[in-house]
Each structure stands twice: as C-alpha cells, then as structure tokens.
Symmetry: C2
Subunit: 138 residues, 2 copies
C-alpha cells in the first residue's frame, strides 16, 4: 500500500508538471531506464529520456491554454514497478468557449534509487459520442 | 530475468490466442484483478474480466482475416508485476491484397497464484505517413 501511495504521488507530480508547464519538474518525473517510453495521443512512441523531454518542451511551448484534470485513478504497485491508469480530461480554451476532450492514460513508474520515476506514459483519445464536448461558452 | 522471460511468454500466449481466435486460451491469458483493463485501438477502456472476454469473443467473430505479428518487444519485470510493450503489425486480407497497419501496445501482467495474468492491454494506432501500408497484391 505504501508503494501504491508513492506511485499515486508520482502520478500527481507528472500532471502538476504538465499543468504548470514546468520542464524542470517534468525532468524530475521521468526515469532514465533504457525502456523509458512516451506515447502522446496520436503520436508514434518516443523512446529515451532526452527525446521525451524534448517533446514535452515542444508541447509546453504550444499549449498555453490547456489543463488536465484526472479522474478514475487506479493503482497497482509491486516492489519496484507500479502501474497507474487514469482518465485525463483535457481542457482547452478556444474562442468558442472551453472544450474538453478525454484521454485514457497508462502510466508506469519504476523505482530508481529511492525515487519512483515515470518509465511509460501511454495516452490515447477516448472516443465519445460527441467526440469533443463543449462545456461552457464565455 | 526469470520473471522477464515469464512475462515475455505470457505476452506471446496472448498474441497466439488472438491469432488462433481461441477464446478458451484468451480466458487463460487474462487476470481477474479488479483493475483489469483492456483498451482496443480506438475503443473506450473496458474494465473487468467478463466484459473484456466478451469483447474478444466479438472481435474473434468478426476478424477471420486478421493476423498480428509483434516486434520491438521490451520487457520490465518486478516481483509480481511486469510490463511488456511491443509494436503489433496487424495484417488484414482485403480484396485488394494484404493490408498492414501498426498498433503500439502496452501490456501488463500480474502474478496471480503461480501464473502471470494479463491485467492491462492498451493498444493504440501508430500514425504512419501513409496511414495503412499495402504490402502485397494478389
């Protein structure tokens, strides 16, 4: 259970780094294992710490109006490997109002030294009857 | 390393069950943990052993001409949780010839008793410049 809590905390740190567009925090989230992989929604898989961090830097430059809120968090943790899945609600501020789209994420964390580091982020769009839902108009 | 091999074997059993459309084998692959989740490419996540098996039964009924070959297999295993990622090359026999599309899969296995059981299959399409590539014409 302790490892589950640590994995949950590491998962929250990842989304906090995203929402703050904090590339230094994002660097602290990710692991340097050779298997480390990131799949942004609709992208081909990116392997390795540096290419992954570069992709986040690019996303941060182009995502000024995005925020992720997570729900349906589930955790399974072993000695040094932990799985967290969640639904990401991705809010985008557009001219017509706030748009929300849903993404399903499989996140894996590996114990490196005494830190739980992200070694996999696999995100893919959740289909919706309406596709992208408009939640409010300003 | 032993657990890595067991996870690799469990992963192969999953694709073998798919290629043989063997629902009994597919039942033996999957775990009954409450977190057990399956994301078919472009589908919403399905949770729980029975709904997941029902989805495979439906796919088997409608996929007579499909075969998956995997590549780029990478494995990370802990005491009782293991991660396998791979590229699925999905071959479909169409009137115009054999079509191949690529899917990226994150598969997780959990030790239940003395068996490594699949608790997550997260598959999403890999974008390609050509989208779907035609490999041969008959």
């Amino acid at each position: 259970m302790i490892n589950e809590n640590k994995a949950r905390f590491a998962n929250e740190s990842f989304y906090e780094a995203f929402n703050k567009r904090d590339i230094a925090a994002m660097e602290r989230v990710w692991g340097e294992d050779e298997n480390t992989t990131c799949v942004h929604p609709g992208w081909p898989p990116i392997k390795g710490f540096e290419p992954i961090l570069n992709s986040w830097a690019g996303i941060f430059e182009n995502s000024g109006n995005m925020e992720i809120k997570i729900s349906d968090v589930q955790v399974m943790a072993s000695e040094d490997l932990a799985w967290v899945s969640c639904i990401e609600k991705l809010y985008t501020i557009a001219e017509s109002g706030v748009l929300v789209s849903r993404v399903f994420a499989t996140n894996l964390f590996h114990l490196e030294g005494d830190s739980w580091k992200m070694v996999m982020h696999h995100a893919s769009p959740v289909p919706d009857i309406k596709g992208t839902e408009e939640v409010s108009k300003n």
